[in-house]
Amino acid sequence: MSDPSRGFWIDAARRLLRHRAAVVAGALIVLVTLLAAFGPAWSPHRFDAIDWENMGIAPGSTNAHWLGTDRLGRDLFVRTLQGVQISLQIGLLATLVSLCIGVAWGAIAGYVGGRLDEWMMRVVDVLYSLPYIFIVIILSTLFDRGNIQVLFLAIGAVGWLTMARIVRGQALSLRKREFIEAAIATGVSTPAIVWRHVVPNVVGPVIVYATLTIPQMILFESFLSFLGLGVQEPQASLGSLINEGAQEMESAAWLLLVPAAFLVTLLTCFNFLGDGLRDALDPREQ
């Protein structure tokens, strides 16, 4: 059991590749990520540089700025890609945070069971009933505004509840399996069993749910930045760009449309990829 049967993963990969929408979505995500990583370097402009001669220029009207500029003459192509970078970073890091807490919480509660399980899941239930967005808003005030290094902690700290429930359910059913009994019989300690035998066996559902968590986290971040609680000027995230664009849409609709298109593409692609992964990793659902 230490070697996860290779047949399963090869089968899963094959099933995923047959899922057209998921493949296209995955390719688009890779493309946008590469564009965000290297795109700004191609452009001669910096995200916070002001071009005094080209303020509020529409896309295509000058060769200097591929997607035009905002009211302050900052290049929209570079700003949007920098926003994608930040949104992706925060989305991934926040997912990682929620993944670590959720998997640890769920695996321990499910495997140990009994009183501890009851208590841990009661905590999850109470946190579940709290309006999470309020908690995020309050947590985001904890850090000096614009400190994106810790913004993902605030977002990730509220996103782990569903993950914990999923992992707990899996761990509960693993408890009774023979290989766990064998591990107990050979004297493996409880933390080692959780880490070496329970956690590797919940990887499938965890991957699926993590893929579906990323767009939620990106959405949270954009939501906060849109409201002015997240990323601050002169840095941009997709949410803050959409907010700026919405205020100028009468005269410069492209300022709204460009970042909105990137955000919607990313969110849709992650959702499709997650759906495809669920079909691939959980054949029972089909």
Binding site: L142, R145, F223, L227, G239, L263
Partner: protein
């Protein structure tokens, strides 16, 4: 039923208490205070201001005092909007926010259920595919994208509806905000209805109803629709929570004077009492709405009644 409702309602009190306590201490941990960015107050005046609002006391004392005034139903004065109490501020905006939220949920039900049902009845047809595509896209489109886009198309280009703003009693100002809030919910409800109706239509009792020779209309509306709507009913709780958080954004986008904006403004200004008041009011509203959806579910589904 009534006793169950009362017991569940009492069960909300500890949750609400956790919310109040948690948010009280977390927001006080945040750097900065409510009087920080008022044009550099002389330290004596700032100290006086803080003493007047009891902010010079230890946090534990402040907390006990706050709980005490809460028990009289008093949310305290706002730190930033001087001369206003938090109760007044929220009370002014809440009716509009509630109207908006209610309109959005009703709109979502009125459009989502028929869309999903028609998609299920013509499975794999053109309508089915377009509904499903809309459902995927609708869930991925956040309110702060839909709102400005709708305003751009229907407000600025077509000029059918006002772009933003509010004048009392004018429903035209509510159409775009309500639609913005409702779109993702419509998408989700359509998907839920389609999925569960497809399942119900394949079940044994529907086959029996058809075998009795009942016309399809009666099979659908008398037998199939009620169990098929159960998932929609259980989604109403999360949906109302979604609509309430969404209204924070939608009120900002469309410049509506609802109460949602106070949460964000309060958080930015460190207006402790205003944030607390908003969290308590919106938090308990969400909890109660969730409870109502739960009870409704139990009332509709006889299987859960005797648990």
């Amino acid at each position: 039923m009534l006793r169950l409702a009362a017991r569940r309602l009492l069960g909300l009190v500890p949750t609400l208490f956790v919310i109040v306590t948690l948010s009280f201490f977390v927001i006080r941990l945040a750097p900065g205070g409510p009087f920080d960015d008022e044009q550099t107050l002389p330290p004596e005046i700032k100290a006086n201001l803080e003493a007047a609002y009891g902010l010079d006391q230890p946090v534990a004392t402040q907390y006990l005092r706050y709980l005490q005034s809460l028990s009289h139903g008093d949310f305290g004065p706002s730190f930033k909007f001087k001369d206003f109490s938090v109760t007044e501020l929220i009370g002014q905006g809440l009716p509009l926010s509630l109207t908006l939220g209610l309109a959005a949920v009703l709109l979502a039900l009125a459009l989502g259920v028929p869309l999903g049902a028609f998609a299920a009845l013509r499975q794999n047809g053109a309508l089915d595919y377009s509904v499903m595509a809309f459902a995927v896209l609708g869930v991925a489109l956040p309110g702060f994208v839909i709102g400005p886009l709708l305003a751009l198309v229907f407000g600025l280009h077509l000029r059918w509806l006002p772009v933003a703003g509010w004048s009392p009693g004018e429903w035209r100002y509510l159409v775009l905000p309500a639609l913005t809030l409702a779109l993702p919910v419509i998408a989700y409800i359509a998907r839920l209805t389609r999925g569960s109706l497809l399942e119900v239509l394949r079940s044994n009792f529907v086959r029996t109803a058809r075998a009795k020779g009942l016309p399809e209309r009666i099979v659908l509306w008398r037998h199939a629709i009620r169990p098929a709507l159960l998932p929609v009913v259980s989604y109403l709780g999360p949906a109302s929570a979604f609509v309430m958080t969404g209204s924070l954004v939608v009120e900002t986008v469309f410049g509506l004077p609802g109460s949602g904006r106070y949460l964000v403004q309060g958080a930015i200004n460190r207006d402790y009492t205003l944030v607390m008041g908003m969290i308590i009011v919106y938090g308990s509203l969400m909890l109660v709405l969730n409870l109502i959806a739960d009870l409704l579910y139990g009332w509709l589904d006889p299987r859960v009644r005797y648990e």
